[in-house]
């Protein structure tokens, strides 16, 4: 946990410093004494102070708990990373490709990623999920779902 806490603390300090820097560019308030940067400044200072405490604790050996490093060689991490890329691609394709096609691809893709390979199972689950969720959002809740290229075809 020592290295992890050091990295976490540094990230906290960096974020706090960024907020204070941005806050310095905000206009002051002459009447009420506290302007738009007042609150963010206090919070950022708090974050910096506690991040420093975390780092100091890590140095003096009082870091709590165990932590595994994120290693790209780890199969689990690889799976999580691929699933992240899959949902980013899904989001990018959501409007141009349309909800139905993008969703069928995502569900089948993630199932394959997690070890399901049977074509029949992949087809049933992805089609049923896509249709079921469309039914709830588009028909029951009457929210519009992008149909993408299907709209032009239909």
């Amino acid at each position: 946990m020592k290295t992890a806490d050091f990295i976490g603390g540094s990230a906290g300090i960096a974020l706090g410093a960024y907020v204070i820097f941005e806050g310095s560019k905000m206009p002051p308030d002459l009447i009420m004494k506290i302007g738009p940067s007042f609150f963010p400044d206090i919070l950022a200072s708090g974050l910096i102070i506690f991040s420093m405490i975390l780092i100091i604790y890590a140095f003096i050996g009082r870091a709590k708990g165990e932590a595994e490093a994120i290693s790209l060689k780890d199969k689990g991490i690889q799976r999580a990373l691929v699933s992240l890329l899959a949902i980013i691609a899904y989001t990018a394709l959501f409007e141009p490709l349309g909800y139905p096609l993008a969703t069928i691809l995502l569900v089948a893709g993630v199932m394959v990623l997690l070890g399901k390979r049977q074509p029949k199972e992949l087809a049933i689950v992805s089609l049923a999920t896509t249709f079921g969720i469309w039914l709830i959002f588009a028909k029951l809740l009457k929210l519009s779902m992008p149909m993408g290229i299907l709209e032009r075809l239909l």
Binding site: M1, A4, D5, G8, G12, L15, V19, E22, M26, M32, K33, I34, G35, P36, F38, F39, P40, L43, A44, G46, L47, F50, S51, L54, Y57, K64, G65, A67, E68, I70, G76, I77, R79, A80, S83, L84, I87, T91, F94, E95, Y99, T103, L106, V107, A108, G109, V110, M111, L114, G115, K116, V125, T129, I133, F137, L141, K142, L143, S144, M145
Partner: protein
């Protein structure tokens, strides 16, 4: 307490089939999600909030309360059947429930868990119904200064929901508070940290943020640690507990329901703490404490009535003060706001009907839980067996489509994914996520009321100390903070002890 209105609200809830259906759907969804290990009640409510977009407030809130009640009970099913609590609140149920299941008494344990959950939930809901109008009555006198102090008090809770490290909990809190400053400044309208994006003018959208932190992050860790899904072999031949079991446990159910409600009403302390405290009390006051850990029905009764009573308790500060009692109620608060309702004393003044509908819905949801639980226990036991390979992609789609649905904006979906990654990394390194949620809600409340107070006083800080209730709340916040730090170590020690007992019981 207006009994006429309460009676009328029961009519609203029970005679309108839309509302009744919403409650039953909520309870069924809640039990299912609760029963699935890795999916908590918080995640359930977050995932299903988008299902309420465009529906009337009574119906939406009824469904969410149904999920809340159902989720608390659902956790016990997997706790008893596969020794994995479906939700953190059911962790203590494993101690007695699983040994009972191993003896072939899974049906008996499940029946008691359901009955105790119902009784606890009912007692909690009744206490909420009678107590919260009183608390709100006091809070009606509040001005900006008191609201600022109230937000501070709510934030002082962060330490008690910090998990293993107080420092990391506070860091999460500051991070959440900073997130809450994104968007237009509440007083001057100056855009802060928006990176030139119009989508961020109102701050990061609440539901997408929530789904990212509590659903997508959880999915990533589930994918990282994919395990084998356990098959359920237990035979369940009983739906309701026997009269003898009820008689043995009645005392424990009553006591634990009270403990649960009180623990629930303390902001920050949730169902897991309520269940462990009640379990310890049941053991302490038992005539045969040595038998605890071997599968005692009183133990199941104590833990399950406590965690369900906790829901009613947690609703008290939410409804009457606008301060959430735990992570689920923080999500519920978001759901109220989406419906255009701001929980707090003003809700009693402006939307009293909504408040009483909430009371009625909560009570009806508990009855619905008893019915759905008894009829569907075999089905829910099967649900635990659903393979993660199928479940995960479905929840991915629900999460992403749910965050898109509210504003029909792809940016919100990216926001969800971003918070999913942040939440996953934070959780992996033990930074608790609940403080972020609390901060996102209480941050704007603290800032805008502080600044408004300053407008009123012309920049004079003395105004903060000019009103007795505000000073009282601030003193209370400091006291709560100090007590939490002191308590943190004690609770931590107790939880480790209880988990050790659980581990020993399992290996024996």
């Amino acid at each position: 307490m207006d009994f006429g209105l309460l009676f009328h609200s029961f009519g609203n809830v029970m005679l309108d089939w839309h509302v009744l259906l919403a409650i039953f759907i909520g309870v069924t969804g809640g039990i299912t999600i609760g029963a699935l290990p890795g999916l908590t009640a918080t995640m359930g409510v977050a995932l299903l909030v988008p299902f309420t977009f465009g529906r009337p407030p009574v119906e939406s809130l009824a469904m969410l309360l149904g999920i809340y009640c159902g989720g608390m009970y659902g956790g016990s099913i997997s706790a008893i059947l596969i020794r994995t609590p479906g939700t953190p609140a059911a962790a203590a149920t494993v101690l007695e429930g699983y040994p009972m299941g191993q003896r072939g008494e899974a049906g008996r344990a499940l029946a008691m868990a359901l009955f105790a959950s119902f009784s606890g939930g009912m007692i909690g809901a009744l206490i909420m119904t009678f107590l919260s109008p009183f608390v709100a009555g006091v809070a009606l006198e509040f001005s900006y200064v008191e609201y600022f102090a109230l937000a501070l008090f709510g934030l002082s809770v962060i330490i008690s929901i910090s998990g293993t490290s107080i420092i990391k909990g506070i860091m999460s809190g500051f991070f959440g508070l900073l997130l809450s400053t994104i968007g237009m400044d509440p007083i001057s309208g100056f855009p802060r940290f928006v990176f030139g994006r119009m989508d961020l003018m109102e701050g990061p959208a609440f539901i997408p943020t929530l789904i990212g932190l509590f659903a997508v992050a959880e999915l990533f860790s589930n994918i990282e640690k994919m395990g084998v899904t356990e098959k359920i072999q237990a035979r369940i031949g009983q739906f309701l507990p026997s009269w003898a079991d009820i008689k043995t446990s009645a005392n424990n159910i009553g006591k634990s329901s009270l403990i649960g409600t009180i623990v629930g009403a303390i902001p920050g302390a949730g169902g897991d703490i309520a269940a462990f405290v009640s379990y310890a009390e049941a053991k302490r006051s038992s005539k045969h404490p040595e038998k605890f850990g071997t599968g005692l029905i009183e133990g199941v009764a104590a833990t399950e009535s406590a965690n369900n009573a906790c829901s009613g308790g947690a609703m008290i500060p939410l409804l009457s003060l606008g301060v959430p009692g735990d992570a689920v109620t923080a999500v519920l608060l978001g759901a109220f706001i989406i419906q255009g309702l701001q929980p707090g004393p003003l809700l009693y003044k402006e939307h009293l009907d909504v408040v009483y509908n909430v009371f009625a819905s909560m009570i009806v949801a508990n009855v619905a839980m008893l019915i759905v639980g008894a009829v569907g226990v075999r089905f829910f036991a099967k649900v635990i067996g659903i393979q993660k390979e199928i479940l995960i992609p479905i929840i991915f789609v629900l999460s992403l489509v749910g965050s898109y649905a509210m504003r029909q904006n792809v940016f919100d979906v990216y926001l969800t994914i971003g918070f999913g990654v942040v939440g996953y990394i934070m959780q992996r390194y033990h930074y608790p996520l609940s403080p972020i949620l609390l901060a996102l809600i209480l941050g704007p409340m603290a800032e805008s009321n502080l600044r408004r107070s300053m407008v009123v006083s012309g920049g004079d800080w003395h105004i903060l100390f000019s009103r007795p209730i505000a000073v009282g709340l601030m003193v209370l916040a400091v006291a709560f903070l100090a007590a939490s730090v002191w308590n943190h170590k004690r609770i931590e020690r107790r939880l480790t002890e209880a988990k050790l007992i659980a581990a020993e019981g399992a290996s024996a």
